[in-house]
């Protein structure tokens, strides 16, 4: 997998002049640096890193079109190379205590080359396609059982327990079933109209109607009643924000409407 676009254009003498690396997304700065080092046929040493620093900087300059975070990774490596180069050019006190940064880069490069080697070995296997395949299911059918498995002994108490559990779920015929008075949609329409008209000329909040409801079913019926009345243009409803309060107001045309008329044709929907 050669990343060089046009290796033939390198003029002799200026090694890798105009060097361009095709940059597939996976290639990071270490990859580029390692290729530069190997291209120069140098060992990975402090000296060789200095030797390829200019070429790396040229490469970084050509990265304008690449995503900023990818460039950052390259620039970080470029910075370390420049530091390395400056140290090789400037006289340093013999006992200068450096922070080991250049050595780190060399170490990292050696380690990265180990990864490349491992990847190359796996890639060769991948290329050959010497895959192994596992069976989809049992390759062999289990021997047929001569008879169904014997039944384990059970405790007789398990029978009583199973039956008691069932009977406790059966409603007792003698038990009283509590009946709640049903509230029809028609009745709710009347109630809503009464409340809204009672509040005129002010708008009435839906929450006020809701407070008068005994349970969730009644709240749902009340909401349904409001929708019906809005659809019939008996009420105007306004909600200024999501999940906000709903303001209800009787329309002008409806002020004289008899509740019986408003609810006419309404099916008597029970709330329960």
């Amino acid at each position: 997998m050669v990343a060089l676009v046009n290796p033939a254009t390198y003029p002799a003498g200026s090694l890798l002049h105009g060097y361009q690396l095709r940059l597939p997304s996976f290639e990071g700065p270490l990859d580029v640096l390692l290729r530069l080092v190997e291209r120069s046929q140098l060992d990975i040493t402090e000296i060789s890193l200095v030797a390829v620093t200019d070429q790396f900087l040229i490469h970084v300059r050509g990265l304008a079109a690449v995503a900023p975070d990818a460039i950052a990774e390259f620039v970080a490596v470029a910075g370390r190379l420049v530091l390395l180069k400056s140290r090789s050019l400037l006289p340093r006190p013999p006992a200068a205590d450096d922070d080991g940064e250049p050595d780190d880069l060399i170490t990292q490069l050696v380690e990265y080359r180990a990864v490349k080697e491992a990847a190359r070995l796996l890639g060769a296997k991948d290329e050959r396609g010497d895959g192994a395949f596992a069976r989809a299911s049992a390759a062999v059918e289990a021997p047929a059982a001569a008879a169904p498995p014997p039944l384990a002994l059970h405790a007789s108490s398990s029978l009583a327990r199973a039956l008691r559990r069932r009977l406790s779920a059966v409603p007792s015929p003698a038990a009283e079933i509590a009946h709640r008075p049903l509230l029809t949609l028609r009745e709710m329409v009347e109630r809503v109209l009464r409340v809204v008209r009672g509040g005129e000329p002010e708008a009435v909040a839906f929450s006020r109607i809701r407070r008068g409801c005994r349970d969730r079913h009644e709240v749902l019926t009340a909401f349904l009643a409001v929708l019906v009345l809005v659809r019939r243009r008996v009420l105007d409803a306004e909600q200024t924000e999501l999940f906000g309060e709903i303001a209800l107001r009787a329309t002008d045309t409806a002020s004289s409407t008899d509740p019986e008329v408003a609810g006419a044709g309404m099916p008597a929907i029970a709330t329960d």
Partner: protein
């Protein structure tokens, strides 16, 4: 550790000379082993021939050579045109143990519940049992019958003459009972006498029965 079969004096054990398309005749039995291992269904001779890239006649030949190999854990089975592995009969006991085939079966919750209704309320019809359990019980009753735990002990003289079930002597043995009189007391459920609740539930079903069936 030296495996006697590793001594490959037989030409049959030579690896393939060409790994891509064809395969050496000597390696064909091993290739068939591989194909039989991954086959989702027992393959036919023709399917094996297509996979191996050889004639069906060569497959037949290789299969007979494969069959002759000794010290294997399997045997080849032919059903019509298809081939598959089966475990060697001499390992039947170990295979059954490995697959837990000899484990004792336990009655499911549904089976226990149905059996309990039959035991405490016999003779009882399927409709009566279903009235108490609220679900279809045909499958469970068939299982209990196949297990020899319940049997037909009569028929109701109503429309359709429904079968009445009762428990068998095997039922008593499986539950360690000397007689039906030794069935544990049902006690109370929800403040009611459980025995009475059961009878009431069955009686309610009996009232509906002539109409429903």
């Amino acid at each position: 550790m030296t495996d006697p079969t590793a001594n490959t004096s037989l030409p049959v054990d030579q690896p393939a000379l060409d790994g891509t398309a064809g395969v050496a005749s000597a390696d064909l039995p091993a290739l068939l082993e591989a194909l039989l291992l991954v086959a989702p269904q027992p393959p036919t001779i023709d399917e094996l021939a297509r996979g191996a890239g050889v004639d069906p006649a060569e497959i037949e030949d290789a299969l007979s050579r494969l069959q002759e190999r000794h010290g294997r854990g399997w045997v080849l089975q032919r059903h019509g045109d298809t081939v598959q592995f089966a475990t060697a009969p001499r390992f039947a006991a170990q295979v059954r143990r490995f697959l837990n085939l000899d484990r004792e079966a336990r009655l499911s919750g549904a089976a226990l519940e149905t059996l309990a209704i039959v035991a405490y309320q016999q003779p009882v019809t399927r409709a009566e049992i279903e009235a108490v359990r609220g679900v279809d019980c045909a499958g469970v009753l068939a299982t209990l019958h196949a297990r020899g735990l319940i049997e037909q002990i009569g028929r109701l003289p109503t429309v359709g003459n429904p079968i009445q079930y009762g428990t068998t002597p095997d039922f008593l043995r499986h539950f360690g009972l000397g007689s039906l009189a030794e069935l544990p007391s049902l006690g109370e459920v929800g403040g009611r006498d459980a025995r009475g609740a059961l009878e009431a539930a069955v009686a309610a079903a009996a009232l509906e029965q002539p109409a429903s069936s």
